[in-house]
Symmetry: C2
């Protein structure tokens, strides 16, 4: 009884992600998204009142996906395996943590939907943090993680390190193993 859509939700979110990475929050417009989807700008307003709604909807979905992956960390019983798994999933979706940083640029007073999404994002972030803190605790009880380092800094360190740009185009496998070495043992010789 209805017409077929010219674009899938997946394609829309994909385009949203790309546009956010290219233009960042303030430079993001419906025109850019519409052009890339080969639809009229007005069409997007059938689904979203404004760009903040689209962006936060996308972010919630993306975080949800990440949290699903993250929770699987508990299928690994020892810290070392958890650590490897964590690096793997953070690497796989590197950009989303960059995008998550844009949250604070989104005004809250836009509308109820956006406000609800921001609350949801905050909850997801807390869930993520709790899971990760648990992971750090395990590392400390196993005497693998340096106990003098604050949990929040260890976590910030891991997430930050993942974002190192690979301008010099170092081969992927060497890149990953180097990053793991630096994370675990630093840049000094032992």
């Amino acid at each position: 009884m209805a017409r077929e859509r010219k674009f899938t939700k997946k394609k829309l979110y994909q385009t949203t992600k790309e546009a956010l990475l290219e233009y960042s929050y303030a430079g993001f417009t419906f025109r850019i998204v519409a052009e890339r989807l080969h639809i009229a700008r007005g069409t997007l307003y059938k689904y979203y009142e404004n760009k903040d709604e689209l962006i936060t909807d996308y972010m919630v979905e993306e975080m949800n996906h990440f949290l699903n992956e993250l929770h699987k960390i508990n299928t690994y019983k020892n810290f070392e395996d958890q650590f490897d798994y964590l690096l793997y999933i953070i690497f796989k979706d590197r950009e989303i943590h960059q995008i998550r940083e844009m949250t604070y640029q989104i005004p809250t007073e836009i509308n109820e939907k956006v406000k609800a999404n921001k609350v949801q994002l905050d909850k997801q972030h807390q869930t993520m943090y709790a899971t990760l803190q648990h992971f750090v605790q395990l590392g400390k009880t196993e005497n693998l993680l340096n106990p003098t380092l604050p949990d929040s800094l260890i976590l910030g360190f891991i997430f930050q390190t993942i974002d190192i740009p690979n301008h010099a185009s170092i081969p992927y496998s060497q890149w990953v193993s180097s990053i793991k070495t630096m994370l675990t043992h630093g840049i000094f010789t032992n």
Copy 2:
């Protein structure tokens, strides 16, 4: 023979920096800057044809200042002292490296002045990189830096680490010492 300025270049650059950090490149406007300086928007056009000229002028100046500081690294003779000094100056001007990342968002075709500034920024970046690579080499010949790690990754790692957000409000001195520990020896126990 002329009227006194209502704002100094220093104050203008300071305001530019703050606005860039708050609104990022795309959200940066002359109106914001003019309001904060208590001048009319039109006044800014007496000095700059457009925002890209102001932004790149500011960036060149900022990078120049940083390079001046950076070159002093060679007054320290051993690697350990150079390392401490480097951390110190990067910490002092943490935000500018965040701002430098915005360079790639600035279109080149704006005008000749902007194009020239972008070329200049590129040169400065190369100078910076050369100096830092020299520093890394010293660390490797002194057998303090892990020789298996690519230079570019070591440098990326240092710069990236500085940007760890201190959401948990860890006291400054502990924060700095923790970061130094993580950089040099990682998050694992020895």
